[in-house]
């Protein structure tokens, strides 16, 4: 009995509850935007996720799974009994909870995708408290050292090995929770190259628009 | 044939006439892609509209007559933008050793056809 098929006709959230009860590996390939993904199951839980021959951490694993759930192209094959080359930190994720969480995130993402911050907007931490929401806290724990200094979604995506849009989404959520805010450089200047000019311009403009008696006031 | 199908067909014929073109984007003059075969069409469409808009303005202000095309030349290739009527923009990118004269000849004809279809 072989388990194989195409994501064109069966999506991952249909497939996972069914294969996860067996020990083995679900290989997913021919994906548009990802190399081969391998999901390793043992004792009814997802233990390890490989992207190509690279094992992923929990944050990266969650990102890849949400991309897989949303994918409408790809092939899959289940290989029973096989174990990962190494699995230093087994995830131990229950499938239904994982799918519920991914579905909620995808829905939410679809709603806010037009309002996500620009990839290059720099954010920093407003305070050091781990967020309650487990979806976000994983990201926060990985990202907070960078966020202390200030970092953009683009840079985080490179540092954490995660898709850009996922980083933008997490920063958006963190901003809603008040945990991060965009850096506002205010009026700091490195060189006083415009020293005095602003003051002179101000006087000239007032005269031009309001006459000699400076009729304008706040 | 729908407008979209017409435009796709013109795009295909342009590709056949000028196989050396690396990418082709047809956009609205306000920067939205209409048909294309470029991987980053939204970005290119906006930039092409900006380049054309700026080109038209410069042409007018420095009295060059009506704009024929705007050419950006890098050491690895060209990006040329043509007006396709009042509402359209045709942008093509070509390798550095491309025959610009030939490209202009063909592209202008296609730009006129696109203008009709838009």
């Amino acid at each position: 009995m072989a388990i194989f098929g195409s994501l064109n006709h069966m999506s991952l959230d249909d497939l996972l509850p069914f294969v996860s009860s067996r020990d083995g590996a679900l290989e997913i390939f021919n994906l548009k935007r990802l190399p081969r993904v391998t999901l390793y199951f043992h004792s009814g839980k997802l233990q390890c996720v490989y992207l190509g021959n690279k094992p992923l951490d929990s944050l990266q694993a969650r990102s890849v799974i949400s991309e897989l759930v949303a994918a409408s192209n790809g092939s899959f094959e289940f290989i029973p009994e096989i174990r990962p080359p190494t699995c230093d930190q087994p995830l131990g994720w229950s499938i239904d909870r994982m799918l519920i969480s991914v579905a909620a995130t995808l829905d939410e993402y679809a709603q806010v995708v037009d309002r996500l911050p620009h990839p290059e907007t720099v954010f920093s931490l407003t305070h050091i408290t781990v967020p309650d929401d487990t979806r976000i806290s994983d990201f926060w724990k990985r990202a907070y050292i960078y966020l202390q200094e200030g970092i953009s979604a683009q840079e985080l995506s490179e540092k954490l090995g995660m898709p850009l849009d996922h980083c933008r989404f997490y920063l958006h959520k963190l901003r809603q929770l008040g945990a991060v805010a965009p850096v506002r450089f205010e009026a700091r200047r490195e060189k006083p190259q415009h020293a005095g000019v602003a003051a002179r311009l101000l006087t000239s403009l007032k005269k031009r628009f309001f006459g000699e008696d400076n009729a304008w006031s706040r | 044939m729908t407008k979209q199908e017409q435009l796709q067909r013109i795009l295909r014929e342009l590709k056949q006439a000028l196989p050396e073109l690396r990418s082709i984007v047809v956009a609205s003059t306000d920067g939205l892609p209409i048909v294309h075969d470029a991987s980053d069409a939204p970005r290119v469409a906006a930039m092409a509209a900006t380049a054309l808009g700026l080109g038209k303005r410069i042409s007018q202000t420095t009295e060059l007559g009506s704009l024929e095309e705007t050419i950006i030349r890098g050491n690895q290739g060209y990006f040329v933008v043509y007006a396709a009527g009042d509402k359209g923009v045709l942008a093509v990118s070509a390798p550095a050793d491309a025959n610009l004269g030939l490209i202009h000849l063909e592209a202008r004809g296609f730009a006129a056809r696109l203008a009709q279809a838009l």
Partner: protein
């Protein structure tokens, strides 16, 4: 003396081109194209608008940017070396506040640039006033000014505030 520039940015339809036209002494140079989307007007800026104000021997350029996200490469190009930034928003269109905030965050988080937010349409209630716009954008009240973009004496007020804030900052440091 080297000309100085102030960038005028903001969502589509916020009145940037009108604002520059009202303040500029010279004819405004614009790069308008026909809008293919419904944005409430016939044309939209695709590259930039600019106007000038001569003040003695000092020339001040006002550079207006396109509003749509897809032209964000122009926001960067035009903000390079700017004296300051004016973000214009329509007080009667709160649906544009989130994109405007996104733009402000992008422009101000990457390099230091003094800014002021100008809220237009103050003469046509119901309209958000500066005192409510400031907390929404997360900025101190003094950085938000209400104005009517078509009246020169009103239109110049956010520019004056910007220069006051720059001057105060310089004196403090």
């Amino acid at each position: 003396m080297e000309p100085l520039k102030v960038v005028v940015a903001g969502p589509v339809g916020s009145g940037k081109s009108t604002f520059i036209r009202t303040l500029s002494e010279t004819d405004v140079v614009d790069t308008e194209a026909l809008a293919s989307e419904d944005i409430g007007k016939l044309t939209t800026t695709v590259a930039l608008d600019y106007g000038t104000i001569h003040l003695g021997d000092q020339l001040l350029y006002l550079f207006g940017t396109p509003g749509q996200d897809r032209f964000d490469f122009m926001w960067d190009v035009l903000s390079e070396g700017a004296l300051g930034l004016l973000l214009l928003i329509r007080g009667d269109k709160p649906e544009d506040f989130v994109p405007a905030r996104r733009l402000l965050d992008y422009l101000t988080s990457r390099r230091p640039v003094p800014f002021v937010i100008g809220v237009t349409r103050q003469d046509l209630p119901p309209v958000w006033g500066p005192e409510d716009v400031a907390p929404f954008f997360g900025v101190p009240g003094e950085r938000v000014v209400g104005l009517n973009a078509t009246d020169p004496q009103s239109a110049v007020t956010p520019l004056l505030r910007l220069l006051e804030l720059i001057t105060a900052e310089e004196m403090a440091s």
